[in-house]
Symmetry: C2
Subunit: 368 residues, 2 copies
Amino acid sequence: MYVRTAPTQRTQPLSDPIPDAPADPLLARLATLCEGRGLAALGARLGELADLVSGDLSACEAELAAIAPHLPPDRRASLVARAGGHLLDLGGKRLRPLCVALAARLGDRGFDSAARALAVAVELVHGATLLHDDVVDLGETRRGAPAARMVYGNAAAIFAGDWLLIDALRRVRRARVPGTLDRLLDVIDEMIFAESVQLERRGRVDADRGAWLRIVEGKTAALFRWAMWAGGRAGGLDEDACAALERFGLHLGVAFQAIDDVLDLDGDPQATGKSLGGDLREGKMTHPLVVALETEPTLAPLVAAIARGEAGGEALGAALERTGALEATRALARARAGEALAALGALPRGRARDALATVAQAAVERDR
Amino acid sequence: MYVRTAPTQRTQPLSDPIPDAPADPLLARLATLCEGRGLAALGARLGELADLVSGDLSACEAELAAIAPHLPPDRRASLVARAGGHLLDLGGKRLRPLCVALAARLGDRGFDSAARALAVAVELVHGATLLHDDVVDLGETRRGAPAARMVYGNAAAIFAGDWLLIDALRRVRRARVPGTLDRLLDVIDEMIFAESVQLERRGRVDADRGAWLRIVEGKTAALFRWAMWAGGRAGGLDEDACAALERFGLHLGVAFQAIDDVLDLDGDPQATGKSLGGDLREGKMTHPLVVALETEPTLAPLVAAIARGEAGGEALGAALERTGALEATRALARARAGEALAALGALPRGRARDALATVAQAAVERDR
């Protein structure tokens, strides 16, 4: 770990799931984590969340698992199908489909087949960006396993990303939920230009909170925004409710990325499936680094040396602790989760709304 | 040139355009070529074609040229916009927009703003594939200039391809011509899996006409099919007429690729903007090679050595001549152009139909 003593005492999660853990693996992991960290109330609420959506998530999972195997025979064995299937088989948190499902369940129509198509599509768009990102960043592992490009090559990974993207758009198109395709195209456009900003800033060591936020809003939060809005539309909610859901998605996305940034420097690689300091070595200024550099500009040469691979990350631990950078980032995540909760005020009360509140809280308490 | 003596005598095109050459650069070049090769009748018909569509093509060109410069200021200077704009600025034959324009002009509505949007979109999809292809094939030049990836890097080229693709889909969406978006998504899916077949066969030296055709139908002809079908729909033609246009596009696409394959081995790099034998060095079995290997299987080690860069292409010239491989490929192109002409029989007579016949003939007589 980069951080020798974490600024807040953190208990390790229990290694065995608690006896009445929810069936869904994500929710089970989150519940386990909450128990381990003394967040029993949140653990109990995650159990309720699981009751509500474990069927929805299983349906999504089954559909995602079937995509590559159900291709026509001449395509099933293709490099593109295998590279795309490889990524999908690695699983993931499926947080974006969960957002679609809960948003849809707020409305009268609930999580019907159209909503399920949107939930699968949002995970496919996310997968497409991961495939292209790993090529761009020369990423070697993904979700604790070799990245698709390491197994099938860069070319197959690029085309597999194209495939998942087009497949997602076709699903959204077929679902015929008004406005969802137009908005998804707009969101993907935002994501691409945020990738461009990140690319241009690669290796630049500076404390620019504005740039960090622009990248995160485009790369991460935009797709969460769409997941919430599209789920709400599929569920039959009106414009105002969907706008509130979109605000929830924006804040949840920023909070989620802030915690990702913390985990890059202070996570357990076994849990996250990513190597520690990976973002920094890819030349990306995560939020804790922005805070640390803002507080102590003299850290720049050290950060630059680590980014260039010319220094190990150990020396950074003390600096992150001294500057309170990780805690400041966690505080940002908590504040954004609070904004997300506030956005829920405009929405119909009920189990789905309570579950979204739980998601926002769990997103900032997670360790993976 | 790989071919020391071409199997059919070919006169060099005149270096100066003929006095009454059409204003459009593509048509001017084609007309020049026809004059130079004693195809005066075709040259004259290209002049008529220019009268009909030079305004349409200029409108497309203006719209393509405006895409990157008209982005919002924060995006205009981005790496993605510059990489995408670089490719668009290099020009190209704009044959796919020409297909949309002529197909639209067969109908009552003609080349209106919706048809123009589709014409621009088809060129953007083509551009997206070129950007990704150059990354995959490590292509260094494109249209006689450094490829976008050489100027802006692989990462920017990948995201720029994503951008042009999404931009194309947004344009098709906004044009709201029934069926065009669904079909374009289907066609892009076909293109991706054809890329996958090509990737899997890379470096494999064998005489498989079926594989060649599968790749070409997916990679090249599918988008021509869409251009014709979508143009016809925008122009207001009925299903039967659009189906005939789609057949025209299929055959034109195959003919076009066959000539591309000839030019890879027997073209003038100054004219084509590509280095001679480039496809072979990228491990791609072009049609003349398939024919040559079918006729003389003992050529395989030589072809493999050239593909690996361990032998120059000179020795191949005699083999291509001996086996009549280039002429057989030209004959295939002519036969497919004939099929394309036959498909026109079902369509309304008039200048647009005559112009499409001219395009089919010019596609197989071109030298670039």
